[in-house]
Each structure stands twice: as structure tokens, then as C-alpha cells.
């Protein structure tokens, strides 16, 4: 049993980010800074797609890194670093938003109060002109986000990882902490549900 565990840990030792985490565990604070710089953008976007509030997404992303920092003493490389850190982020999304101080804002935010960053587009910033096509795309994006928010939390997270990040069932399962078969079932249901919602809005067949 011990040998099996050791082998699993050895597999992940080749992951350069696991190496950085181990160096941080050994007292090298610069290694933590590197991990922070590499993952803050992807994690922020992952959480933002889930909660649709820029300020909350930033706070929760910071919370992920605080937990990484605090857990350095007990860290063991039992998975790829990205799997591990996304799992922390997933737990925060599922738990903090349910019980935490963010609950009120998320649940009572009206459908039209999404912040502008959704429609942010660097091209628009330069020209200050939106073509019809861009406006339509932005409107579609807004409706899709609204539809995603109607899905149960776990379905929403799984679907984001599937259709936006193109992850496999196995990878999604590792991040969400459930089996491949469970993920498959969740994704199937969430795609059917999303299609139903978007169909009512006239967005898809």
C-alpha cells in the first residue's frame, strides 16, 4: 500500500508546478509567487464564468491562493498541481458561495445586472464602435450566461469545464472530486437542460 502511494506520488513529481510547490514547502517563497503568477488568470476566469461577478471572482481567487499558502505544511503531491488547485477552487465555488457572505449577492442579482466586463472587448475599446455582429455576439453571450446560472451548481461547473475548457470526463472528475461515470451523467443532463433553456429564449433549435 505504501509502495503504491509512493509510486503515485512519483508520477506527479515530474510536473514542474508540483516541483515549485515542493520548493515552496521547503521554504522558498519565490516558488509560491511563481505559482500565483501562473494560475491567478486561469483561476480568475474559471471562477468568474461560474459566479459572473468580477469582484467576488477576484476575492474567491485570492482565497484559493491563501489556502494553497496555508496548506504548504501538509501538502503531498498526490495529483498534478493543476488538478489539485482547481479542486480547491471548485470546493470554494461550491461551498463559499452557498454558505458564505457572497450568498446574498449571487442569489438576488437580477438578470440584467451583470457587470460590463462580460462585454469587454479590446477592439471595442480602441474604436468605440460596435458592429451589429459584435452586439449580437455580446447579447448571445449574456443569454448563455443567464442560462448557465439557472443550472444546478455542479452541473454548471462541469459544463463550464467541458464546453469552454474542453476537458475530458476524467479530468473534470478529478477537479470536481467525482467519478468519470458521474461526470458523464452530469454533463449529459446539463447539456439537455441548457439546450432547453436556450431553446425557450429562441437561441438554439
Amino acid at each position: 500500500m505504501g509502495a503504491v502511494l509512493e509510486n503515485i506520488e512519483k508520477q506527479h513529481h515530474n510536473d514542474p508546478n508540483v516541483q515549485l510547490m515542493l520548493r515552496f514547502q521547503g521554504g522558498e517563497e519565490g516558488a509560491f509567487r511563481k505559482l500565483f503568477e501562473e494560475y491567478r488568470g486561469p483561476l480568475l476566469n474559471f471562477i468568474y464564468r461560474y459566479c459572473q461577478d468580477r469582484r467576488i471572482a477576484e476575492e474567491l481567487t485570492q482565497e484559493v491562493f491563501l489556502r494553497v499558502y496555508k496548506s504548504s505544511g501538509s501538502y503531498r503531491p498526490e495529483a498534478m498541481f493543476s488538478t489539485w488547485i482547481y479542486r480547491i477552487a471548485t470546493n470554494i465555488c461550491l461551498n463559499e458561495l452557498r454558505t458564505g457572505r457572497y450568498k446574498y449577492e449571487i442569489e438576488f442579482k437580477g438578470p440584467d445586472e451583470h457587470d460590463d466586463s462580460m462585454q469587454y472587448d479590446p477592439v471595442d475599446e480602441r474604436t468605440k464602435v460596435k458592429t451589429d455582429e459584435q452586439m449580437a455576439a455580446a447579447e448571445q453571450q449574456r443569454q448563455v450566461q443567464g442560462a448557465l446560472e439557472k443550472l444546478p451548481k455542479k452541473q454548471r461547473l462541469a459544463l463550464i469545464l467541458s464546453i469552454y475548457d474542453q476537458l475530458s470526463y476524467r479530468e473534470i472528475g478529478q477537479r470536481l472530486g467525482c467519478s468519470e461515470a458521474a461526470v458523464k451523467s452530469i454533463i449529459h443532463r446539463s447539456k439537455l437542460a441548457l439546450r432547453d433553456i436556450l431553446k425557450k429564449g429562441g437561441l438554439v433549435n
Binding site: F36, R40, G41, L44, N45, Y48, R49, R54, A57, E58, T61, Q62, F65, L66, Y69, K70, S117, M118, Q119, Y120, D121, A137, Q140, Q141, V144, Q145, I163, Y164, S185, I187, H188, K191, L192, L194, R195, L198, K199, L203, V204, N205
Partner: protein, 170 residues
């Protein structure tokens, strides 16, 4: 979707995602060609799969500064906690090790006996009454000599640390 089509639901998603076992593909295709509602589901699911990525956002200008400030607080709390832990382990080690325990118990008993001796009425044998009163804890604590003894201070420190520990757990 018709009730009779429900049994196809998951197969339709698997079909669109290309993960349906070959032996079931023909059956699903036959049904979809004949059923307008299921063919609409297939078309809708293809559109869901093709949804464009939402634009990426960048961390705000404040993001890094706010994070490192929060982290500094965590670090400070960790250091304070470690300091307390060190005290706790030193004190615990002293009082739980047999040598430390018997040493302090012996010390306390010694101080107690000496105090009784010093406070005895002149030329009288130790009266029964005083022994009983001295056994009363309130008076025991009021005796300056004992209150100031190092052993009692340590005893209080341990009590304090234990209360802190209970607070943290509670």
C-alpha cells in the same frame, strides 16, 4: 420531447458528442430521422457544443496588492500561533514529564509546609483548626507566599493555555 423519446435522451447527447457505442448509433440515427422533436434536440445540442468562449478577463489593477496584503495578515497570524505553540509545548513538557511533575509537586508541598510552619502561633503546637482552614482552597490562594510561588504561576499558565485551546476548538 415526447414521453416515448425520453429513453433516447442520454443517447442523443452521446451521439452528438461522438461517444455512443457503434452498435447503438444506427438505432439512434433511424429514430432521429423519423422524429422531428429528437432531430431538433440533436441540432440544439450541436449548437450548445459550438457556443463561443466568453471573453477572458484580466485581474484588476488592485488584485495583486490586495492579495499580498491578505497574505501578510495570514503570515502574521501564523507567526503568532507558532509563538504560542512554543510556549505551550515548553510548559506542557515541564508539567507532564514525570520528573517535572514530581519536582513541581514536591516544590508546592515544600512551600506549603514551610508556610504553615512560619504562620504557626508562637509556642503552640500546630492547632487542628488551622490545618483544616488551610485545606480550604480560598485561603490557600490568599497566602501570599504560595500565590507568588513560581509553581503556582506555572499552574495558572497551563490553565490559561488550556482555556485558550478550548476556545480555539470551540
Amino acid at each position: 420531447m415526447k414521453i416515448s423519446c425520453m429513453k433516447y435522451e442520454h443517447d442523443l447527447v452521446a451521439y452528438v458528442d461522438g461517444e455512443l457505442p457503434a452498435d447503438r448509433v444506427a438505432r439512434v440515427e433511424r429514430h432521429v430521422q423519423a422524429c422531428s422533436s429528437c432531430s431538433a434536440v440533436v441540432a440544439g445540442l450541436r449548437q450548445v457544443n459550438a457556443l463561443p468562449q466568453p471573453p477572458l478577463i484580466e485581474p484588476s489593477a488592485e488584485f495583486d496588492r490586495m492579495f499580498w496584503t491578505k497574505l501578510a495578515h495570514v503570515r502574521q497570524a501564523q507567526q503568532e500561533h507558532r509563538g504560542l505553540e512554543r510556549w505551550r509545548s515548553v510548559a506542557k513538557a515541564f508539567f507532564t514529564r514525570p520528573a517535572g511533575l514530581s519536582l513541581s509537586a514536591g516544590l508546592a508541598l515544600g512551600v506549603f509546609v514551610v508556610t504553615l510552619y512560619l504562620l504557626r502561633p508562637p509556642h503552640a503546637a500546630l492547632p487542628q483548626q488551622e490545618v483544616m482552614v488551610a485545606a480550604d482552597l480560598d485561603l490557600y490562594a490568599n497566602l501570599d507566599v504560595i500565590e507568588n510561588s513560581e509553581a503556582l504561576e506555572h499552574f495558572e499558565l497551563i490553565q490559561m493555555l488550556d482555556e485558550l485551546e478550548q476556545d480555539e476548538q470551540g
